[in-house]
């Protein structure tokens, strides 16, 4: 676990939840608010260990629910399910390709709201859903998909600028030096 990256991920989640509750432009323009947590979870699950995934699911879910009318803790499990599924296959996923990031972001952004709604309905709540919720779901999926490669690029930039870079090995070896001297 890279502690700096874990801290950065949690700070990003904190700011993402705050931005979603303050910025109403996407809601006014597109009719739905875009959720950045599923895309962040995809990045975390592909690049970090399972404990960072668990930490993001718990703290991100609690932060989201504390600012929402959702029952506190209802978003934790959907985020964890997505994180777990992605992390279980992270060795097989081509995480550096933007298209893969886009598709993974789309799948996660589509799955998380559906799972949250299932939990809400099972808990006897009455969320505001109808046929036009399909449009909102599409907006959330497309928005989350578009945001995921940006999240990957942002963390790659942070890693380049804030993290330690591995030293590159050179081919120079002093014991293999060829001495070109006429006197020898």
């Amino acid at each position: 676990m890279n502690p700096l990256q874990t801290l950065l991920i949690l700070a990003f989640a904190f700011l993402a939840v705050f931005a979603e509750s303050v910025l109403s432009a996407p809601r006014n323009l597109l009719g739905a608010q875009i959720d950045l947590l599923p895309g962040l979870m995809v990045f975390t699950a592909l690049n970090n260990d399972i404990w960072t995934v668990a930490l993001l699911a718990v703290l991100g879910g609690l932060g989201y629910d504390s600012l929402s009318a959702n029952p506190l803790g209802v978003s934790i499990l959907p985020l964890m399910v997505v994180g777990y599924l992605v992390h279980a296959r992270h060795d097989l996923i081509l995480r550096t390709l933007p298209f893969t990031q886009f598709m993974m972001g789309a799948a996660a952004s589509a799955l998380v709201p559906v799972l949250v709604l299932i939990l809400l309905l099972n808990g006897g709540r009455q969320p505001l859903i109808g046929w036009s919720s399909l449009w909102q779901w599409l907006v959330m999926t497309a928005g989350g998909a578009a945001a995921t490669p940006i999240i990957f690029a942002f963390f790659a930039w942070c890693e380049r600028n804030l993290g330690y870079q591995p030293l590159k090995e050179t081919s120079f070896r002093p014991d293999r030096e060829i001495l070109r001297d006429r006197n020898k």
């Binding site: 609690l62 504390s66 600012l67 929402s68 009318a69 499990l77 279980a88 505001l128």
Partner: protein
């Protein structure tokens, strides 16, 4: 794929989620208060940033424009004062008549101004948070309105903030009265998740004869909203349930998508 560490992490998260979801209401609200307080500095920063362009524009406003505005506000203030004197006389007369008939006295509304600090990030709820809380005397179910009309009601109160569930949310149903000769009464429900300005008025009788443009106000039934708060106007109406009932669509007076300041009403 199936590592023990992964199972452990999944189990731990399931346990935490189950624990949080099964907490009693008081513990949940305390935990929610603690977590949402982490965001307070950011909300302060966001408010200051939002005010900055307006402050800059105020500073750049020419003096003659300011004087014109003061002049027009002074005139408006005088008109309102005359209106208030008239209203006071009417209220006295109304009180006298009510006492003659032994009717309950109508109390004047007490209002408190609040700033909207955030909207619900989830798309399936229609709620906002305001910067007044229990220390300002707020309690659950107080009506919230703007100068245009009703907005919603207080659904939960914390020390320094409160959650307002807006009209159109499934948890905010309002008994509404149409200002037509028959004084038809119905229940205001959400019409859909996308358009927050249109609501469905249901449970109207089959004989209701509604016309577009008729005013809709709170009926006072239900005990939450006092009678007479403007809500909106009828857009259209059609018979439903094989003509046994009438359904109508109501265009709200208040713009729920652009709420910045609201009034909390203490009846």
């Amino acid at each position: 794929m199936f590592k023990r560490k992964n199972y452990l992490a999944l189990g731990a998260v399931v346990l935490v989620a189950a624990l949080v979801l099964s907490l009693p209401a008081s513990a949940t609200s305390r935990l929610q208060l603690v977590i949402s307080s982490w965001f307070l500095p950011l909300f302060g920063l966001a408010n200051a940033t939002q005010r900055l362009p307006a402050d800059l524009a105020d500073n750049a406003l020419p003096r003659h424009e300011l004087l014109q505005m003061i002049d027009s506000l002074r005139r408006e203030n005088e008109q309102l004062k005359v209106g208030a004197i008239q209203a006071a006389a009417t209220r006295r007369e109304n009180d006298q008549l009510r006492s003659l008939y032994d009717w309950q006295r109508q109390m004047p509304w007490k209002l408190k101004l609040a700033n909207v600090v955030m909207r619900d990030p989830a798309n399936w709820w229609r709620s906002v948070q305001i910067d007044l809380g229990s220390r300002d005397g707020l309690r659950e179910n107080l009506p919230v309105l703007t100068v245009d009309g009703l907005v919603g009601r207080i659904s939960s109160v914390r020390l320094t903030s409160a959650q307002v569930v807006l009209l159109g949310d499934p948890n905010c149903r309002v008994s509404a009265l149409v200002e037509d000769p028959a004084q038809d009464i119905g229940i205001l429900n959400a019409s859909g998740p996308l358009d927050s300005s249109l609501l469905d008025l249901t449970y109207l009788t089959g004989e209701a004869n509604l016309k577009p443009g008729q005013n809709v106000i709170t009926s006072g039934l239900g005990g939450v909203f006092p009678k007479g708060i403007p809500i909106g106007k009828i857009v259209d109406a059609q018979p439903i349930e094989f003509g046994l009932a009438t359904g109508a669509r109501v265009k709200l007076n208040a713009d729920l998508g652009a709420l910045e300041k609201v009034w909390v009403l203490f009846p």
